[in-house]
């Protein structure tokens, strides 16, 4: 009888700790995922506006747009990590997007994607969650006047 009771405490404690890990994971990991998603969205908004502002119908304008995006001093993961692998694309009408458009004179829109924001999962992986969770973000803006469109 005493042995059974000791076993029960062990099992109850294990189940409770698993549940506790899941709750901690929800608060800690999901909280960080939401923050990263929000930070990435604000960054792509600012980057798309910065890129659209530089569009002037020339090839040099496209290069200046990419340069402007590369120099935005915003970070993610609670403001600690730089955005990497940022993609800048251009379009004439918002239907077809190209990183190196052949006709720079027709470009009126810029789109920025931050695809590689991988949040490392701390607690949820102990209860079967993934090791990492990627939170991509994207925004597009038009030039003259510069306004966010997506």
């Amino acid at each position: 009888m005493t042995g059974n009771r000791r076993g029960f405490v062990l099992i109850a404690m294990s189940v409770t700790m698993l549940l506790l890990l899941a709750v901690m994971g929800l608060a800690f990991d999901v909280g960080r995922i939401y923050i990263a998603r929000n930070e990435a969205q604000v960054f792509t908004d600012a980057a798309a506006m910065a890129a659209a502002q530089k569009l002037d119908g020339t090839k040099a304008g496209l290069d200046r747009a990419k340069d402007a995006v590369a120099h935005i001093p915003m970070r993610w993961n609670l403001g600690t990590q730089e955005f990497r692998g940022v993609i800048v694309e251009f379009s004439a009408d918002g239907s077809k997007w190209e990183t190196e458009p052949s006709n720079a004179g027709s470009v009126t829109m810029a789109r920025v994607t931050a695809p590689d924001n991988s949040v490392e999962i701390t607690f949820l992986r102990a209860v079967g969650g993934p090791n990492n969770f990627v939170v991509p973000a994207q925004a597009a803006a038009m030039a003259n006047p510069v306004r966010l469109t997506e």
């Binding site: 608060a27 800690f28 923050i35 930070e39 908004d45 600012a46 506006m49 915003m74 966010l148």
Partner: protein, 151 residues
């Protein structure tokens, strides 16, 4: 014998309760701090977008300060001219929002930096002070009117 078992149970309960209360307290602390931080990211993002697109009027220092006040109001109340003074993030005040214009050689604004400064997140068990974070920088795409006055 039964009294000894009861004593063991008390010790087990005490140890388990201490571990679990610590874990739950930590969970609440991090969860609440992240929740507030996420709200602040949204708030400074809204303020940054508004600042980037509004007309920059710089006839005098008073006009510049009025412009900054409107941006701070957008961050704190979600409205440049608020009628309801309820902050979008608990206990956030306009003086805890930093607004700085990045200017070129001629004095024209090229970007605006909006950040939170000296904001304490009171998570009951511990208070975390946010200094300069979260912060955003948006390119200035509004109208530049250095000779105009703020209405």
């Amino acid at each position: 014998m039964r009294r000894r078992q009861s004593g063991h149970a008390m010790i087990e309960l005490a140890v388990c309760a201490a571990v679990m209360v610590s874990c739950l307290a930590g969970t609440f602390q991090f969860g609440y701090t992240f929740y507030i931080y996420n709200q602040l990211v949204t708030a400074v993002g809204n303020g940054g977008r508004y600042a980037a697109m509004r007309t920059y009027r710089g006839a005098s220092d008073v006009d510049l300060e009025k412009g900054r006040a409107a941006i701070r109001n957008m961050v704190v109340y979600g409205d440049a001219r608020p009628t309801d003074l309820a902050p979008v993030v608990a206990n956030l005040r306009p003086d805890q929002v930093d607004v700085e214009w990045v200017k070129d050689k001629t004095g024209a604004p090229t970007a605006v930096h909006v950040a939170i400064r000296n904001y304490p997140v009171n998570a009951v068990f511990k208070t975390v002070s946010l200094e300069g974070r979260p912060g955003v920088e948006f390119p200035f795409v509004g109208r530049y009117a250095p000779g105009e006055r703020e209405p």
